[in-house]
Symmetry: C2
Subunit: 143 residues, 2 copies
């Protein structure tokens, strides 16, 4: 065990996480670009398809993203007519994002993406489950 072995790329756990994350997002690209969505926009829509209405703060908590990323992204989705952005009447600091009828209907365009991408990613049932459990374990430990 050399003094610098811990600095070898092969001994890192974060690096394959970082690389695999980006590589899988690349698999999404052809499917998402047909819908003119980026991956970040896609997961944002995914939250909104489910909850319909959410504050920027709570959206950021769900996606692990801050307003520096979300503000311009949400403005793009707003221009496209998929969402509305309105200040809360109860608390003017809070911005509430809500999906529009059009944004909700757009879900039908995306419904097959998980299956199409899933079929590209070779992973056994067990490994997929373990991976899911380990990653959420990390995230829940308030990484």
């Amino acid at each position: 065990m050399g003094k610098y072995d811990a600095l070898k790329l092969d001994n890192q756990l974060c690096f394959p996480l970082y690389a695999a994350s980006r590589e899988i997002i690349k698999i999404y690209h052809p499917y998402l670009s047909k819908l003119d969505l980026t991956y970040t926009q896609y997961i944002t829509m995914m939250v909104l398809w489910e909850v319909k209405k959410i504050t920027v703060k709570d959206l950021g908590k769900k996606l692990y993203l801050d307003s520096g990323t979300l503000t311009p992204l949400l403005k793009t989705l707003e221009k496209r007519g998929f969402i509305t952005r309105k200040r809360s009447e109860k608390d003017e600091r809070v911005l509430v994002v809500e999906i529009t009828e059009e944004g909700d209907k757009f879900k039908d365009q995306a419904v097959n993406i998980p299956a199409e991408v899933g079929s590209c990613v070779k992973l056994s049932e067990k490994d997929a489950k373990d991976l899911y459990r380990i990653l959420y374990g990390l995230l829940d430990n308030s990484l």
Copy 2:
């Protein structure tokens, strides 16, 4: 099982990968900013500390990054005196990156980072091993 269940964030495998990757990189931030390195610069240096000399193409293969990311990053490291960039004499298309004496010595500043970050990431020995194996399984399957 609803028609749109596959589109729920909680049913995605890519999302926790993407989120955990970024969250762990955030743990590196305070340690790396002391050295005035970004995470991407850090893993680049890691490769060079090990191999000393490599082409941009091979570096990109190791890091799963392309020249659009690497070119400006390598120019930054060059300005800092950590590396040199020279065209190969045998093939002028090829750019060879080599670590300098100064860049190599800088390794001593970074040697404790893996241990410091590692102690922040709560993960059992077994989960760490499984995670490593699964992620490299994905990457090797030429994701």
